[in-house]
Amino acid sequence: MRALLIRDLTLALRAGGGFGLGLAFFLIVTVLVPFSVGPQAELLQLIAPGVLWLGALLACLLSLDRLLALDFEDGTLDLLLTAPLPLEGALSVKALAHWLTTGLPLVLAAPVLGVLLNLAPAGYLWLVVSLAVGTPALSVIGCFGAALTVGIKRGGLLLSLLVLPLYVPTLIFGAEVARRGAGGQEVATPLLMLAGITCAVIALMPFASAAVLRMGLR
């Protein structure tokens, strides 16, 4: 399991662009927002938490089709199917690797981009906390979407259509935490809900992903 994790991490870091792409996308989205809504500082401050959450979510989505597609093409998935390691575990590890290479950098970059959008000072802490709690769920749910579409040619767009509705609850609670944090209100309820979703998804989703992958590759 550890070998698989290390393999995925090194591949992501080495495979030219896979690692930095999500971050660059996040940056560009954030930069484009003031161009589209205007440079008023108060307006930007108001929408900053939501925009940052949406940007992180889209950046995460962008890298999903690489999650399993490359392994499908070079035959690694077939090996994983017959490996002694349960497929559920392998997929959890792959989701973890995806989070480490995509979600974690996004969490760390978010405060820097918050400056660009004039985020309220109180909001930084809760933005980082909400992203740190929420992005693992995005990776795990995305893994399910990637497993669904793995055998389909040009499945990228379909993947987005399937995964985005599943992201709704996470986005709502995550952005709510960041928004309330920026406004100085209490954040406990949405944060607990967000953490609940993440835990449930981490616990249950790999079973669905593995089942789907077995059906798809049969």
């Binding site: 379909l158 259509l161 509705p165 599943l166 709502i172 709510e176 949405p190 989703m205 798809g216 049969r218």
Partner: protein, 244 residues
């Protein structure tokens, strides 16, 4: 004789051919009666004026939009557990009907909302949930279309339907938390046995709901038959191609 004998496509088609005429006539009769009664025979609401007549389309469509998804969920479970092809095809056949019902509910809601709330659209929990449901339908249908092997497609869409149901319910609560809405409570709360609609409006509404429900069943029967025939034709073609 158990209900599972209808998992045999031939038996299903025979049953379907026998009940369909009845279903079509009954559903058309109910929809027509309910709508005509509602449109011509009910008074105006003292606050909402004539717009109350939209309820005879809006509520039944919304009801069937949710029930269609629920039926797909049950059919998907049956396919996953007992692997009856008819069940998977019935789920596939129901999805476009559900989409149309969702669109009707959303459109009539928008038309109703404009004079009553002063806006076509509000990010109200109920409205938002329906929009999300619409997205789930689109994803489900797109996945069916994308996969070539029919059994794999049935498998994957079934799992998507299960997972989607969980997330649809989750979204419902998330959205409720996110924004308290304008929409009034449910019109016909079955669980409590009460009702928030006056008798004058209630009877035509119930007839419309029954009519929409029967129409849904008739459409699903017909469409499932279509899917079975297409599947059989494809199988025959494949066999002929192999023999040639």
């Amino acid at each position: 004789m158990s209900i599972w004998s209808y998992a045999n496509p031939v038996k299903f088609l025979t049953l379907s051919a026998r009940v369909q005429p009845v279903l079509w006539v009954l559903s058309m009769a109910c929809v027509a009666t309910g709508l005509i009664w509602g449109f011509f025979g009910t008074p105006q609401d003292y606050r909402q004026g004539a717009t109350v007549k939209i309820i005879y389309l809006h509520v039944p469509a919304a009801l069937m939009a949710i029930n269609a998804w629920f039926m797909m969920l049950v059919a998907s479970l049956i396919w996953l557990i007992r692997r009856h092809h008819v069940s998977a095809l019935a789920a596939k056949a129901a999805a476009p009907v559900g989409v149309v019902m969702t669109v009707i509910a959303l459109l009539t809601g928008a038309i109703w909302g404009q004079p009553m709330w002063g806006t076509w659209w509000a990010w109200d929990p109920r409205l938002t949930s329906f929009l999300i449901l619409f997205l789930f339908y689109l994803g489900y249908i797109a996945l069916w279309e994308a996969i070539e092997d029919p059994d794999t497609a049935a498998d994957l869409t079934s799992v998507l339907c299960l997972v989607g149901s969980v997330f649809a319910v989750l979204s419902r609560y998330a959205v409720q938390f996110w924004n308290q809405g304008l929409h009034q409570g449910t019109s016909v709360p079955v669980a409590t046995g009460g009702r928030s609609v006056d008798d004058v409006f209630f009877y035509p509404l119930v007839i419309c709901m029954i009519g929409f429900g029967l129409l849904f069943v008739a459409l699903v029967f017909y469409r499932t038959g279509t899917e079975i025939r297409l599947r059989r034709a494809a199988a025959l073609r494949a066999r002929a191609g192999r023999a040639a």
